[in-house]
Amino acid sequence: MTQDNRLYGPLDDVAGDAGHVGHPPRMGFFTDTSVCIGCKACEVACKEWNLLPDDGFELLGMSLDNTGSLGASSWRHVAFIEQERPIAGQDPGVIGTPTGPSGTGATATSVAEALHGTPGRGSELGTEPVDLPMPSFELPGEGTGAEGRTDFRWLMASDVCKHCTHAGCLDVCPTGALFRTEFGTVVVQQDICNGCGYCVPACPYGVIDRREDDGRAWKCTLCYDRLKGGLEPACAKACPTDSIQFGPLDQLRERAARRVDQLHEVGVPEARLYGEDPHDGVGGTGAMFLLLDEPEVYGLPPDPVVPTRDLPRMWRFAGAAAGALVVAAIGAFAGRRP
């Protein structure tokens, strides 16, 4: 293993690579959005366990989503996507109803303009502007040219920190506040974070964010404290339909692959996995998803790349500088010794 692929590409043993000896298997999430009922139990269970503050009381008008995005105080976020498209096998009961050409004229404009007028356009993704797609709220009828609505589906998906194999937030953190745990997850240590905010733009998913009141960076810890006690994360435990599954990543990958096959067999060819590929731009994620459309539709970047791909060269300079600092520090303490 070369120094380089510690920051890019497949990596079999993330915890071991981070110096954890005799560590447990890498743990993660598999979120099967095909059974998500959009109840938001994950959002609440997360907040109750992690004692997070509320995130404001704004009606966002993005279907039933009033959370908008992941952020410093919302570590799970359920996106709702309404589309004039079928889910294979589902009859949405549109054919034969006197629905008009809904996607034209005032209505479409109204929905679109109103959405853009909401706080953060319903998609506030960090203190630094990150150009990410919003969860799509397809204008009814757009692009079909149809006289009436021909189909409909309503997708729901619970998003969360991806706990990347190569985590941009972690790689740029100058204080050691962000660290890789023995479970292979990525956690901000609040007793160390100084609120510099470098991590925020470093995340290709726009997950981590700083809290306005204390300035520190916050995100999903995959319930690090619960994991240490042998418990599953709060969101996965609460999830009523087991849309959010927790376990050793290897097992989850197998389960996810089986689920995709199963859905393909019953006629849902659009089912696909996201984040399971170790050859992607972040070396695969610790939180993968079964999606029913392109990632952009859910507000997920189609091709995320860890911004620190080119960091090793830079890091070597930083390492040398730190080494010099150690020498200086020891010298300073030694000099004070009585």
């Binding site: 510690r6 915890a15 690579d17 981070a18 110096g19 954890h20 000896v21 109840c39 938001k40 139990a41 959002e43 609440v44 269970a45 109750e48 366990w49 972690l170 790689d171 050691g176 962000l178 660290f179 890789r180 745990t181 023995e182 956690v187 240590q189 609040q190 007793d191 160390i192 319930c223 690090y224 404290d225 619960r226 240490k228 006690g229 418990l231 709060a234 435990k237 609460a238 999830c239 009523p240 087991d242 890091w315 390492g319 730190a322 080494g323 600092l325 150690v326 520090a329 020891i330 303490f333 030694a334 010794r337």
Partner: protein
């Protein structure tokens, strides 16, 4: 703390000498992180309860530390819910510990524009007096057809459906003995 311990505990030192040369894992773990445990582990006791929202009847475990509820989550043993909870059930701790929970009896006098505080015993006394008064004012031995009814039309009650069976039982029993019949429940609504 000796200098040696201090230095060895310093992340940069650990990073340079340990298994984590990039300082992103074991070497970066803070003292707090190393000592972290789920707060449910420290609970003094766990009560087995049932979610108070809808009628599915999900099992809840209520973790108590120092006589305070510190966590409520699903009971995995329940054959009904298998440990899962919806957003409302998941917010149960906020429901029972939040600042919206009133703790004092409040009284609004006729024509008053604000509440005043009242001690519990006085309030109970006042309510008991008023129950007897309203019962008397609304009493009927017979209805207007001359049929015996022996009841009072002066008192009504409307109960929510989060009352326990035992509570409903005493409510109906007491009101029936008082002759009050307009005793209703969310179940009608």
């Amino acid at each position: 703390m000796s200098l040696r311990t201090f230095v060895e505990g310093w992340p940069v030192y650990r990073q340079l000498t340990g298994t984590d040369p990039l300082g992103r894992g074991a070497a970066a773990m803070s003292v707090r992180s190393a000592a972290l445990t789920p707060r449910t582990e420290d609970a003094d006791r766990v009560a087995r309860s049932v979610c108070p929202y809808c009628a599915v009847g999900c099992g809840q475990k209520v973790y108590v530390k120092d006589e305070k509820v510190v966590q409520i989550e699903g009971d995995p043993d329940s054959p009904i819910s298998r440990g899962r909870l919806c957003p409302k059930g998941s917010a149960s701790k906020q429901l029972v510990t939040g600042p919206q929970r009133e703790q004092k009896v409040l009284y609004r006098a006729p024509y008053a524009t604000e509440w005043t505080e009242l001690d519990l015993d006085s309030a109970m006394d006042m309510v008991a007096d008023r129950v007897l008064d309203a019962r008397h004012k609304g009493w009927q031995d017979e209805d207007h057809h001359g049929h015996t009814v022996r009841r009072t039309m002066g008192i009504a009650s409307l109960g929510g459906a989060t009352l326990d069976n035992e509570e409903n039982y005493l409510i109906k029993k007491l009101f029936t003995a008082l002759g009050a019949i307009q005793i209703e429940n969310q179940a009608r609504i």
